[in-house]
């Protein structure tokens, strides 16, 4: 499992409302939605039809104008863009539609070139780039086929090649695997994963296809025009793996662990920063997802390092359990990504666990 690397925010949705129709027929489709997607993240959106996920996708894709609220793509505000600016914005986005939407009169290569012709790629490169992209989706032998001579799965892969050929930093996909068999679907998903990992693309996929949930960093569920849950799957699994090592949590059931993990927030610390200080009151529990930190305990004027914590390390629970000030200082030795759990959530989680008292004593005994 790859460790999280700091990435900029690719898609920032804030307070977005959307209405369809006018007058009596006016109907609200989105209600004050917030959603942030980082570069390199794959977000799967689920929800019943009519839940507003498609509307949100078309707003992010600048296929509709933002009515209320703010959507930023890599810092560029979409609200208030002129139609011409919207058109330019779309060139930065790769769209994969449920229906493949290829141009019937053009061959696979020509379809992919249509997208290339909008980029700065020198025309002499177009054929080579288009062919390489089609090769990447396994269609190197179908360059000169028109859509009607391709299978449904092949057409969808041509559409994906067209969406990805300009290496977009944002990919919006609507049921990209619905028409594909298991293997083609897995290939497409692997392709999207590679685009996210290697090029830091933010990928949003609307899907009902359970087979591809595993690729997602997050799963966002929408109901009735609202984001009702935003589960950071990969992050949660990462946190659970660390919590499993921690004595306080090791007896917990997977579902309780997941609940705890989802309450944890990501925090980042530059090298040299003090994460907690000895003597302060303890408010949070920390697990380290990436980077190394040093534990120092001040005694009689000197502060010797007593331990080095790496990825998977945790600290801060003692002060919470004993309701005492911090008994040590923890300093980041290199940039550290940590997940933190607030005191109330920490204690609440332990309290729901039946061997709570035993846990506390065991923990306190070990740490002395």
């Amino acid at each position: 499992m790859s460790s999280p690397v700091p990435r900029e925010t690719a898609i920032a949705v804030a307070d977005v409302d959307h209405h369809y129709g006018a007058g009596e027929a006016r109907k609200q489709a989105l209600f004050g939605n917030r959603l942030d997607v980082r570069a390199g993240e794959i977000v799967i959106m689920t929800g019943p039809s009519g839940s507003g996920k498609t509307t949100l996708l078309t707003l992010i894709g600048t296929l509709r104008s933002v009515q209320a609220g703010s959507i930023r793509l890599f810092g560029t505000e979409l609200a208030g863009l002129s139609p011409a600016e919207q058109v330019r914005m779309r060139r930065q986005i790769g769209f994969i539609f449920q229906a493949h939407n290829l141009l019937e009169a053009l061959t696979a290569r020509q379809n992919v070139k249509l997208a290339l012709e909008l980029s700065d790629t020198p025309p002499a490169e177009h054929d080579r780039r288009a062919d390489a992209m089609l090769e990447a989706v396994g269609l190197g032998h179908r360059l000169h086929y028109k859509p009607r001579h391709l299978s449904v799965g092949q057409r969808q892969r041509v559409a994906i090649a067209r969406a990805l050929v300009n290496r977009p930093r944002i990919v919006l996909a609507d049921e990209p695997t619905a028409a594909l068999d298991q293997e083609s679907g897995a290939n497409v998903v692997a392709l999207l994963r590679r685009l996210a990992d290697d090029q830091g693309a933010a990928v949003m996929i609307v899907t009902h296809d359970n087979r591809i949930l595993g690729v997602a960093d997050r799963i966002v569920n929408m109901v009735d025009g609202r984001v009702v849950s935003d589960i950071r799957i990969r992050e949660t699994m990462l946190i659970c793996a660390i919590l499993k090592q921690c004595d306080v949590f090791k007896e917990m059931s997977p579902s309780d662990l997941t609940d705890v993990a989802q309450k944890m927030a990501e925090e980042r610390f530059p090298a040299g920063a003090a994460i907690i200080r000895q003597g302060e009151s303890g408010e949070k529990f920390y697990v380290i997802a990436a980077g190394r930190a040093e534990v120092r305990r001040t005694a009689e004027g000197s502060a010797p390092a007593v331990a080095i914590l790496g990825a998977g390390g945790f600290f801060g629970e003692v002060a919470l359990l004993r309701d005492q000030p911090r008994n040590a200082t923890v300093v980041a030795l290199e940039p550290v990504v940590a997940y933190t759990l607030a005191k109330a959530d920490f204690l609440g989680a332990l309290r729901t666990h039946k061997s709570f008292e035993d846990q506390i004593s065991a923990q306190l005994f070990h740490r002395g």
């Binding site: 996708l57 914005m89 060139r91 141009l103 053009l106």
Partner: protein, 376 residues
């Protein structure tokens, strides 16, 4: 967009394209035929003027058109002859007459043209040469392009003109086309015998030739200053234009062809619109996809316009070839002066492009409905 998408779209559906091109070709061919007839009529109605050699013409103020030219006092011609710059004034008489073939009994109508037998005012030297032959009274030259209604006749035969036996002293080739069935040329003396003695005092036209080096417009002004208000002086170009205007724009002959052209044009535009609109309609999803890819609306309208142009140009070629063929056939069958000149070829091409523009503008409305947001 470097990919010639409009072209690929056009050849992707050969049957649809063939229907569009065939329909438009037919409409363009109709336009070619109507324009050809109109052009021929234009030449035809001025055929008599076009056969005469003159710089200026004097006609009655009440003149409407040559076949219905009110006569005026021939004294005006004497007054005109002394105006400086005038080299020659020729009295010209014309009226309809009744023809009867003495041998076969066929009878028909036609125009009788009369000039003094010693005045070579025709452009065709063949006619001028034969004028001497009609010096004797009751002799005439007969138009070889007269309709079959004139019956079989030969030079030396007798024909009955307005009830009087007349010797056919020669023949010429003029052709009255749509105007009437045929024509004869006689001397002014014969004319007075056949049409009535009172014609001795009148003229229908005075054909003026100006002296070499004289300014035609200045001579026209001098004539206008000299002559009373009952006659009008017109240049050769003016009188021909007036004659054409009368037939093309006032009489139903020209209007008929013009309406025919407008109908063919509208039909062509409608066919093109139908095909183009259904093409655009079928491709709305594709156009929406292009918008989603980041193509501006103008690029997508461009595809529609190009496709209209492709249809129009593909239709023009066959129409041009067919028109050339049909012109030839019509010319040989009717003797009507149908010719395919560059001007008319260009005119019809222009109409084809206008047709394409109209159809494109109408059908492009559909492209506005291509909504990329509907693709998700």
């Amino acid at each position: 967009m470097r990919t010639p998408l409009a072209w690929y779209n056009s050849i992707e559906q050969p049957r649809r394209t063939a229907a569009a091109v065939g329909g438009m070709s037919f409409a363009l061919l109709l336009i070619f035929m109507q324009a050809g007839f109109l052009g021929a009529a234009r030449t035809n109605v001025a055929v008599i003027y076009l056969a005469l050699d003159f710089d200026l013409v004097i006609h009655s103020r009440a003149y409407l058109t040559l076949p219905r030219s009110e006569p005026f006092d021939r004294l005006r011609l004497n007054q005109a002859a002394v105006v400086p710059g005038v080299a020659r004034v020729t009295r010209f008489l014309t009226d309809s007459f009744g023809w009867r073939n003495a041998a076969s009994g066929d009878s028909a109508g036609g125009f009788m043209l009369a000039v003094p037998a010693d005045a070579p005012v025709f452009l065709d030297p063949e006619i001028n040469r034969q004028l001497a032959a009609v010096r004797p009274t009751l002799t005439a030259l007969v138009d070889r392009k007269s309709r079959p209604g004139y019956g079989p006749w030969r030079v030396g035969d007798k024909a009955v003109l307005n009830g009087q036996p007349t010797l056919i002293a020669g023949s010429y080739e003029l052709g009255m086309g749509l105007l009437t069935e045929g024509s004869v040329i006689v001397s002014d003396e014969t004319y007075e015998r056949l049409q009535g003695p009172w014609h001795g005092r009148i003229a229908n036209l005075g054909l003026v030739k100006v002296a070499p080096g004289a300014d035609v417009a200045a001579v026209a002004d001098a004539l206008r200053a000299k002559l009373p208000q009952d006659v009008v002086v017109a240049t050769r170009a003016d009188i021909i234009r007036r004659e054409q205007n009368y037939f093309i724009n006032v009489k139903p002959v020209g209007i008929m062809f013009q309406v025919g052209m407008v109908v063919a044009f509208a039909a062509g535009a409608a066919i093109l619109y139908q095909i183009l609109a259904s093409e655009m309609n079928n491709r709305l999803g594709e156009f929406a996809t292009l918008k989603a890819l980041g193509y501006p609306a103008s690029a997508i309208y461009g595809i529609g316009i190009q496709q209209g142009l492709i249809y129009a140009l593909l239709a023009y070629g066959p129409a041009l070839l067919l028109a050339a063929g049909f012109y030839r056939v019509a010319r040989e069958l009717s003797g009507f002066p149908l010719h395919l000149d560059l001007g008319r070829a260009g005119f019809v091409l222009g109409l084809a492009l206008v047709m394409c523009a109209i159809a494109a503008v109408l059908s492009l409305w559909k492209i506005r409905r291509a909504d990329p947001a509907s693709l998700f």
